[in-house]
Symmetry: C2
């Protein structure tokens, strides 16, 4: 004798319509009630569980988001925005915290093998050939968000990193700075590569080319900004302005100036990139470049879901969002 | 004719042993090669996919971590530690970003219904009865980490919040402070409740009870710390010391003092709780209470996995980790 929703309703002590709502995942059903209904339905063999449903539909309704360093405050911002955008389309998010630039990639390999996701968003890849190969080998639709990799056959969504950096170059030039330094993140990231290129090019066009002696490359970390700014500010002719490749590096540079009792912006101007919420805190009040993270996340999610659901365009997309310079109190004219 | 691993090996252009290694998930196989093998195997119907394997084993090897606000810098720390601990035991992590204190809980309901995880770690629940009911209704083994809920029938792992707060009370008392304030987080969190209780009790035992006029409760946010500290420091007889229920609130309080040009620690001492990496940055250099997050994450993961794998003790566990006071430059004697 086959089990009907009537049987489940009677055993769970609810109406038949509540049973069908609960099993459809309707959010109007109280979660505790829904859980009870599911337990009864599963025990009686009425409803296939997620694994069985997934076997039928071949869909997990799950998107893997691959992040290299969740502790970098940039990523929680992006992850929050993605979580919202995916949630609105009925997808949930698996967070894979993994560096793509090192050997191993156990989580990624498991993901590729296991089929536990319908698609992948890569938000912190590096630019090596081997990474391009790894991404192209993905058995699921995949989208690059924030970072770019030459030669990977994927859709990509990013900010205009070169353009944003050029806006910083213009600001510093017009304030009167000529001894200008750049502190990059990892040389193998497209964000550092494009920001440095845009910055150098704009300064060169103004006739104030970036002195190679004033370039540093490190990590996207407070420690790296602190160490390189200390190094730069200790020189005989220190820079009067430092552009840091992201906000976290700039926070480190501000701390270095504080430690050396060098006034910001009186003695040195400091600029970041990202406009993290912390950048507006009094402790930093950092001039920086805002990226439209919410819009970027929304479009990356949309493109990925279109690929998953087969409503996609055969052409790869490449969306580049304009940035916005946010002026705060960490920049001013150079010392007289 | 049935498909053998020999057929797959030939078609994928690799050895048979590479095929079996790849399909076992052995990390020694290059991810791109493994992905190719999986695609061939799936196309030929050789290997059941993750959904089919999961149907057989009834295990997803996935743990859901439910967090209320991934943008609060405390959670990425904890999530990173959990990711490590779970990864070492062969589990991956699904991050569910959801407030348990509001209606809806679409993600949690979906999780309960869908069976997409083997267990749940709750790291930012609130203390209402309704939340206790919701947690107890979980169809999976579940563990409470960091926060506590009375009446929920679950294992729990947390720091000694009351004890840590008592260490702060002792420090401030011995430095000579008597006009002391407390800025809490949400009143419906066990962390704020226990820290405030431990702080009040220790001050009362010293004969310097906390003046109710010097208590504030807000959110675990920079904005809340900024607003309440501004309010407290604007009073005719401002406090000479403020204990903030977490570091993010303390960063806001430090910013308020900076904004009002009130010297820290000359005019007011400020203390936090958590010891986030940022607390040691020069911009803050915050005296705070360290929680052993890595140990807490490891034990929460262990208990949950024991429950999932049936190696568990019928008794519920309740682990309380000692805290450690970290003195930095945000505390000193009160003004003369």
């Amino acid at each position: 004798m086959s089990i009907t929703s009537h049987d489940i309703a009677r055993e769970a002590g609810v109406s038949q319509s509540t049973v069908s709502r609960a099993l459809r995942g309707d959010p109007r059903v109280d979660p505790a009630t829904a859980a009870r209904i599911v337990r009864v339905a599963e025990r009686r063999g009425y409803m296939p569980n997620a694994a069985a449903r997934s076997l039928v539909t071949r869909k997990t309704r799950t998107i893997a988001v691959v992040v290299a360093d969740i502790k970098n405050p940039f990523y929680p911002e992006l992850v929050e925005a993605l979580h919202e955008a995916l949630g609105r389309s009925g997808y949930r998010m698996v967070l894979v915290n993994e560096r793509t630039d090192t050997r191993g990639q156990a989580g990624l390999a498991e993901l590729y093998r296991g089929g536990g996701a319908d698609g992948v968003l890569f938000v912190s890849v590096t630019i090596e050939q081997r990474v391009a190969k790894l991404l192209t080998a993905s058995p699921f639709p995949s989208v690059l968000l924030n970072r770019d990799v030459d030669g990977a056959d994927l859709d990509r969504v990013m900010a205009d990193n070169a353009g944003g950096a050029a806006q910083v170059a213009d600001l510093l030039y017009h304030l009167g700075h000529r001894r200008i330094a750049f502190i990059g993140g990892p040389a193998n990231t497209s964000t550092t590569r494009d920001r440095e290129a845009g910055f150098s090019k704009a300064l060169a066009q103004r006739g104030a080319p970036l002195d190679p002696a004033n370039r540093r490359a490190g990590e996207y970390s407070h420690r790296s900004g602190y160490q390189w700014a200390t190094d730069l500010l200790d020189r005989a002719e220190p820079p009067t302005a430092i552009f840091c490749a992201n906000d976290v590096v700039a926070f480190g540079a501000l701390d270095a100036a504080r430690n050396l009792q060098i006034a910001v912006p009186g003695d040195v101007s400091i600029v970041g990139f990202d406009d993290l919420p912390m950048a507006s805190w009094r402790a930093f009040d950092l001039t920086t470049v805002r990226q439209p993270l919410t819009d970027m996340a929304r479009d990356a999610a949309r493109i990925l879901i279109e690929r998953i659901e087969g409503r996609d365009d055969p052409e790869r997309e490449r969306l580049v969002f304009p940035t916005h310079l946010v002026r705060r109190s960490s920049t001013g004219p150079p010392p007289a």
